[in-house]
């Protein structure tokens, strides 16, 4: 059936217009809701179920959610960009409203009462006389066979009974009981275990491999080699693990040209460019880059460069996938963010017809963007193809993950801003340099971004870096400040300097761009002796932006009675507070982050004491889930800020475990208070990436308040604090 989508439908409904794609009244007692999105730990199953339960008037516990499968519908391509509530949520809300209208029509005929007279409680429809019928009697197990109507009327916010309240995570009890099955937990009869053997040296070729010793080990079923792709498959997991270690000793990988070391990385980011793209109204263009040219009113000009290193997603669970090749068809179970995109990619690499490859989503540890899941899926598929009929569960090691995942790119921002005599910004310049944040494999073209595809005897070339010229795409995400500056010159620079493979890490360019903007704002306020909060408000017209800033500052001040009762400052442990703000992608969630920290002048370590977050994500769906995402984003970004950097030299990546790539631990995480400004009349926006940008700047600004030192290179390690403290003035 093909029908032209009615105008005005949410995008996901235009692409998946059938009501049966979204909602099914099951045979008895439950309702199945389908989404093309997946649960990554962000709690989206619960939020989507709340939306459906609200519109249908059924208890939340009756909702079952089916997530993306490349063989199923709806197809929403990927779970990225904090878009699941905005896209899938909007579609589901309308679909559920339509389903409810159809159910009430059927009930009206059944109960012989007008629709307006009916009431619904947990799926049971009652007429004024007391007669009633439930959804399952009316429509249990039946199809709708219609398209979702654009004229379906969802509830008004004031009618909501569930949406906006604190949800109870639907998937949590299973996880707490140890009953949940992550992809690495899958177990099927006859299953084999596999490991890859891959060097920590990117794009190295396998120049020699003696497989005899590994092949002869107990339990080893196959050594799989295709070009530089090398893996081993065994009956038991510990056998595969041991055989992979032996095979690694007997394999030699070399690069054609030495890897450029990390020394001078940020200089090369700006000197070796694919192209430069000035933003016009937020959109990168191919126009010539205008010169930096402060107006005559400029009294004082500041220039600064801010950098971040390569960062890891750092999933706690190493990437894994299960694959079965049988009767010329391949089925892969993967924690990919985009199973519908990955299936045709794997088909192309394996030269299989697209319809012969199916990828089903299974949860794994949080990924925080595009991590190694897609690569592991292809690795498992390559092993399974050698062993038809045998399911193969392939797991990366911690070292594979730390060396092989597509990192968040190293970045650099050169900022220059000028103040007039009244201390207002009159000129603003922001030049951001980075390699691509768009490293996903695509199902077309000659190249392929997956590691194994580039290793094959007939390899796929790595994709050539191309600028994303859409609004708010990777490098320039949040580069355009929300402040009302009279002039803002923003330039995106795509760097060709790419020693390491990169892709999308939570909030993409926004983390570095907001770090630079919100640090520079503080530097300008300090240079003109203005209060940094008042300085921000002076330049902000957006009332919702002002509201979150004031709320966060107030929350941190209230947390300790505005400083009353705090112990007197220890001169060896100076304390300071800082704040920073952004609206994610300039149209999604507003978030202001305040932190209080102290610096230990003996160890030069920064200790976060507490944090306050205020956010406005429009209409709230799951209040608790929203807080969880905002707080989690803060903690993760604080970890990036204080501790994290991928290290590498000519011989390859050297941060291969949690000792060499430390992250924030329980005793280092500060208490966080969060306040949500609910705007029921505004569209619901995703918030999972809203606090990452403000966090590094809030910490940098608090460090400045505490010590007078200004750090602009991430991470803020004790060595950097020490160097700044004792730098010649």
């Amino acid at each position: 059936v093909s029908e032209a989508p009615p105008a005005g439908l949410p995008r996901s409904l235009e692409q998946n217009p059938r009501l049966d794609d979204w909602i099914r009244i099951d045979a008895a007692d439950t309702v199945t809701v389908r989404t093309g999105k997946v649960e990554l730990g962000q709690g989206v199953l619960t939020a989507l179920a709340m939306i459906a339960a609200e519109e249908l008037d059924v208890a939340l516990a009756r909702i079952k959610v089916e997530v993306a499968d490349s063989a199923g519908r709806p197809n929403e391509m990927m779970t990225v960009g904090s878009m699941s509530i905005e896209l899938s949520g909007a579609a589901l809300r309308l679909a559920a409203a339509h389903a409810r209208a159809l159910l009430l029509q059927a009930a009206s005929a059944h109960l012989k009462a007008a629709v307006e007279e009916l009431s619904v409680e947990d799926g049971r429809v009652s007429a004024p006389g007391g007669s009633s019928v439930d959804y399952w009697q009316l429509h249990g197990g039946k199809r709708w066979d219609c398209a979702v109507s654009a004229s379906a009327r969802p509830k008004r916010p004031e009618e909501h009974r569930l949406v906006g309240r604190r949800g109870q995570r639907l998937d949590l009890l299973d996880k707490l009981l140890g009953a949940s099955r992550f992809v690495a937990d899958l177990s099927v009869p006859g299953m084999l275990h596999a490991r890859v053997v891959r060097p920590a040296l990117p794009r190295a070729r396998l120049v020699a491999c003696e497989a005899e010793r590994a092949s002869a080990l107990s339990g080893v079923v196959a050594v799989v080699r295709d070009g530089s792709f090398l893996a081993v498959v065994a009956e038991r997991e510990e056998q595969a693990s041991h055989a992979a270690q032996v095979l690694r000793e007997d394999a030699r990988f070399e690069r054609d040209a030495p890897l450029a070391g990390s020394e001078g990385l940020h200089a090369r980011l700006a000197s070796n460019l694919v192209g430069s793209y000035p933003l016009v109204a937020g959109v990168p263009t191919e126009q010539p880059v205008p010169p930096i040219d402060p107006p005559p009113a400029a009294q004082r000009t500041l220039r600064a460069t801010y950098t971040r290193p390569y960062l890891m997603h750092g999933s706690i669970g190493p990437s894994a996938a299960l694959a079965l090749f049988e009767h010329d068809e391949l089925h892969v179970w993967s924690s990919s963010q985009g199973v519908a995109l990955l299936a045709p990619v794997i088909a192309r690499v394996l030269a299989l017809p697209a319809e012969a490859v199916r990828v089903s989503y299974v949860e794994s540890a949080g990924c925080y963007g595009h991590n190694g899941s897609d690569d592991a899926a292809l690795d498992a598929a390559l092993c399974a193809r050698q062993l038809p009929g045998r399911p193969v569960l392939l797991k990366w090691t911690r070292g594979d993950e730390h060396a092989g995942e597509p990192y968040g790119p190293a970045m650099r921002v050169d900022a220059q801003a000028s103040l007039d005599a009244e201390g207002r910004v009159v000129d603003w310049n922001h030049d951001v340099y980075s390699t691509s944040h768009m490293g996903r494999a695509l199902p077309f073209g000659r190249s392929c971004a997956l590691i194994a595809a580039q290793q094959l005897a007939t390899p796929f070339p790595a994709p050539r870096p191309r600028p994303a010229l859409m609004p708010q795409a990777g490098i320039h995400r949040n580069a355009d400040p929300l402040y009302a500056f009279p002039r803002a010159r923003i330039v995106k620079h795509l760097s060709a300097e790419a020693p390491l493979r990169t892709s999308s890490l939570r909030s993409l360019g926004a983390f570095t761009n907001v770090f630079a903007i919100e640090s520079m704002i503080d530097e300008l306020a300090a240079a003109s002796d203005q209060d940094p909060v008042a300085f921000r408000l002076l330049h902000l017209r957006d009332a919702r932006a002002r509201a979150v800033i004031e709320a966060a500052v107030g929350l941190l001040a209230d947390g300790d009675g505005n400083g009353a009762g705090r112990p007197p400052a220890d001169p060896q442990r100076p304390r300071g507070r800082g704040m920073a703000f952004a609206r994610y992608e300039n149209y999604k969630c507003y978030a202001a982050v305040c932190v209080e920290l102290e610096v230990d002048l003996a160890s030069h370590a920064i200790h976060l004491l507490r944090a306050a977050i205020a956010a406005d994500a429009g209409q709230v769906i799951d209040l608790d889930g929203l807080e969880n995402q905002l707080e989690g984003g803060f903690v993760q970004a604080a970890s990036w800020t204080l501790k994290e950097q991928v290290t590498y030299d000519e011989r390859g990546v050297t941060s291969l475990d949690w000792a060499s790539y430390p992250i924030l631990t329980f005793d280092e995480v500060p208490p966080v208070q969060t306040v949500i400004l609910d705007r029921p009349g505004e569209p619901a926006r995703g918030a999972g990436e809203a606090t990452t940008g403000p966090t590094p700047a809030a910490i940098a600004n608090a460090l400045f308040a505490a010590t007078g030192i200004r750090l602009r290179d991430l991470p803020f390690t004790p060595a950097r604090v020490r160097a700044a403290l004792y730098a010649a003035p």
Binding site: L172, L176, L177, F182, R236, S315, R398, D667
Partner: protein, 154 residues
């Protein structure tokens, strides 16, 4: 064949003596609640209790666990009767992806068994060998304190 006591039940296990306990639990006994995180004893996802003491199981040879009591997350509580810690984690929605939670739950149990009324700081210090990447730390701490209050106040 080794005899292994897990969650109060005796199992006969055919795996080699040097096999890491984690693989035996997950692949031989089907107890996949305990997670593989790093196999380097650095992240705590594989934490179990061995005679009541938290131990990472990813490099612990099977031979060292035989003759001792192993407790995994599956041994804490049931769907019908969750352990007070599991109830408290549910009430606080104390997770995001949940991958690290099994290791944290059993380590928290060891803490409360030893110290039924810990301070916020004591909980944080006790859990510092268990990594959480989602940033659910504060919820986890609140949940452990909530479970402790329920245990200590009638």
């Amino acid at each position: 064949v080794a005899e292994l006591e897990v969650n109060g039940e005796l199992h006969e296990v055919g795996a080699a003596r040097e096999t890491p306990l984690l693989y035996v639990l997950r692949n031989d006994l089907g107890l996949t609640g305990t997670k593989l995180g790093c196999a380097l004893e650095q992240c705590g996802a594989c934490t179990v209790l061995l005679d009541g003491e938290p131990r990472m199981s990813c490099r612990l040879p099977l031979a060292e666990a035989t003759g001792r009591r192993v407790l995994t997350v599956e041994g804490l509580g049931t769907r019908e009767a969750p352990h007070p810690l599991q109830r408290a984690f549910l009430e606080e929605n104390a997770a995001q992806c949940g991958y690290c939670i099994a290791g944290i739950l059993v380590r928290a149990k060891a803490l409360l068994d030893r110290n039924p009324d810990p301070s916020d700081r004591e909980v944080r210090v006790a859990l510092r060998d268990n990594l959480c990447r989602c940033g659910a730390h504060n919820r986890v701490v609140r949940a452990v304190l909530r479970a402790a209050r329920k245990e200590t106040t009638p």
